[in-house]
């Protein structure tokens, strides 16, 4: 079957000429010979929609993407910042038009009703609270986001308006059109809740500052960061909470959003400290033509005991005063993966036997079933190579003896003393069953050369097994 090229989107002008979505490209060209077409790029469209969703965060922290071309904004409790829903919508329309995007929008009590009004009613409709039924009634049944099959059946029955659907008793309605259609109607009318997948879960720990004039001077940015931090931290303090992660977003005049994150090792709410952590990162923010809104969100919020902390034991006090700020400074400067505390992990393979734990993670608080003590029985080197290095010219008496001589990095070492072997098998339960082989073992030896240097080397494979020829590797140094 040959692929048929169809129109996936048409401009307003093209629609006026009678072209429609889903039409064959050849038919369209026959209608409009000088039609300009471009390849559809669904991925780029999705990316652009996501970017638009991020931009909409300036209006509401809860934005849900309605693929392929819609957005839901939960504006509950934010319209007063603009002085009412009408003003909010007007500002929204003005800014979107400035970006040159064609769009339609509506405000209603439920996502379903808002979708219906935005798609089929007058552009920019605002349904009064509880008044969506009257506005929905004259719309076509397609406004209910029905599946094609159901929709076809509704049309076949001669139902042209949602109002007619509303007047059908629930029992016959559900029998005739299915539960899904019933639920769509209920969602539109607010009789049933609809779960939206917000791009970011709405975060109640949110502070926002808007400026009459856009700012761009570095010192101004530092000051507004401190101001917005003070605002959020005051709220955290009154509610006895602290946050571990903070994200400040600079909203530029041209609609771009520049986020910066900092993390704390322990939940905190000291605005001065938080602003200080942001300070070195501010120079990476390009203010462009100016920044008009700055928002700050706190994540991983948990209760902290506040001022009582000082009455605790001495160790707790030093933790809060010294170590935690140090860890914060280092992780924010170097990155989270560059500051760690080694913790034992459940594995026999030496390179997997330790994991990187967060520096201030309490060992007992970290999943207690996984917490296991360090293995104190077997010697491990002070320096463990990430990749074992191959040894050359190894002289070893087969099959189970440590080498008597080897060359590493161009130097020949004669072994004087040796210990081992410590046999470590592969973790066969992690791989494919076909790859499991008894020859996949490492025999580790701790050896000392004539000068006293102590090495940790191993032989991979077994003698006398053609599938796994033995090879010697150096894995670490004891010093």
């Amino acid at each position: 079957m040959r692929a048929v090229r169809r129109l996936s989107a048409v401009s307003l002008e093209a629609a006026r000429l009678g072209l429609r979505v889903g039409q064959k490209a050849t038919d369209a060209l026959a209608l409009v010979p000088d039609l300009a077409t471009a390849e559809a790029e669904p991925d780029a469209d999705a990316d652009a929609l996501t970017a638009l969703a991020d931009w909409c965060v300036r209006f509401s922290p809860a934005v849900a993407v309605d693929a392929p071309d819609g957005l839901f904004l939960d504006v509950t409790g934010v319209d007063h910042l603009w002085g009412g829903e009408a003003a909010l919508l007007a500002d929204f329309r003005r800014r979107l038009s400035a970006n040159g995007l064609p769009f339609r929008c509506a405000i209603a009590d439920t996502p379903g009703a808002a979708w219906a009004l935005a798609h089929f009613a007058e552009d920019g409709a605002i349904a009064p609270p509880g008044g969506q039924a009257a506005l929905l009634a004259p719309l076509p049944p397609a406004a209910l986001r029905l599946e094609t099959q159901t929709w076809a059946q509704v049309e076949r029955l001669g139902i042209r308006q949602v109002g007619q659907l509303m007047s059908i008793p629930r029992g016959p309605f559900a029998r005739r059109f299915g539960r899904a259609a019933m639920s769509r109607l209920d969602q539109a009318l607010g009789r049933e809740r609809e779960a939206l997948t917000f791009r970011r879960p709405p975060n109640p720990w949110f502070a926002r500052l808007a400026f009459a004039e856009p700012i761009s001077a570095p010192e101004d940015m530092a000051r507004v960061t401190a101001d917005v931090a003070a605002r959020l931290c005051a709220r955290l303090e009154t509610e006895g909470q602290g946050a571990r992660r903070f994200e400040v977003c600079f909203h530029r005049v041209d609609g771009k959003v520049l986020p910066l994150q900092v993390g704390l090792a322990l939940p905190g709410r000291d605005p001065v400290r938080i602003a200080k952590l942001f300070a070195p990162k501010l120079e990476t923010v390009d203010p462009g033509f100016g920044i008009e809104v700055v928002t700050l969100t706190g994540d991983a919020v948990e209760p902290i005991s506040g001022r009582q902390a000082r009455l605790d034991k001495a160790r707790e006090a030093t933790l809060a005063e010294g170590l935690a700020p140090l860890i914060d400074r280092l992780t924010n400067r170097l990155g989270e993966d560059r500051v760690w505390r080694a913790a034992p992990a459940e594995s026999h393979v030496p390179e997997l036997a330790q994991r990187r734990a967060r520096p201030l993670e309490k060992p007992d608080a970290a999943k207690s079933n996984e917490a296991r003590p360090w293995d104190r029985e077997t010697p491990r080197p002070a320096r463990l190579f990430r990749r074992p290095e191959p040894l050359e010219a190894v002289m070893a008496i087969t099959p189970d003896d440590p080498p008597s001589q080897f060359r590493w990095r161009g130097q020949t070492h004669r072994i004087r003393r040796a210990e081992g072997p410590e046999r470590i098998g592969e973790e066969w339960w992690k791989g494919q069953i076909e790859d499991v082989h008894t020859g996949h073992v490492r025999d580790y030896y701790r050896v000392e050369d004539e000068a006293g240097a102590r090495f940790w080397l191993f032989r991979a494979g077994l003698y006398g097994d053609p599938r796994t020829p033995p090879k010697w590797w150096l894995h670490g140094l004891f010093g």
């Binding site: 990430r386 130097q411 240097a453």
Partner: protein, 261 residues
Amino acid sequence: MSDFRALRAKIAAIEAGARPDSESLPFGAAAIDDCLPGGGLPLGRWHEVGGAGLEVETAAAPTAFTALLVTPLARRGEVVWVLRRDDLCAAGLLGLGFPPERLIQVCARDEAEALSVMEDALATVGVSAVVGEVEACDLTAGRRLQLACEKRGSTGFLIRRRPYGGTARRAATGSAAATRWRVASAPSEPPVGEFGLGPPRFAVELERCRGGRTGAWLLEAPQAFSEAYNLEMTDVAHPLRLVANLGDRQLAPAQPFRHVA
């Protein structure tokens, strides 16, 4: 002689300025402690540890030696280890008797960053020692480290290491370090009648020591990699034991004797 000592103490007091009396950590062997000012490794200062040959790259022996020096300090607070190359194995330090739950590892991107992280960590409450791996530390950086040490009395250790090989940038000129050690592994001696490797031994040279004398010794970590070290971590004895004075090559008695600080 006593006049001389008194004079020396007076000068030390003037040099120290408002700084509180600095502590020291004795090795428990008179031969070493007599060389060090204050009768032990001075705390609240920073020390330089280096190796020779390939050890400049791998820094295995200096690492083990430094870990043993830091072990008594780890009982007082956290130890921050600033790395350039992420190959430090906490399980290996545990084998030497160092408590890994007191270790915070930081991997710096370059040398300047390593030094500034060291400085930051040294001036922090709750950190008793900071170990950093740096190729060379000039006088200014050394002085800054010293000031950071004096803030909280924490002790710094600088392992001279060129983690990714290459040619030496420059020869280390003057240094603000309190002491400078050159460490190499030495052949171990297992106890009579036992096979395998004995406790690790180090040929240690004190190359430079402010307010003290230099020396060279053969040291052993008697409790490392033995079954007993974890059962009774001796709180008193230093984890390093003097085996011989490398000056006169006198061998230690076959049976280890215990030093009490």
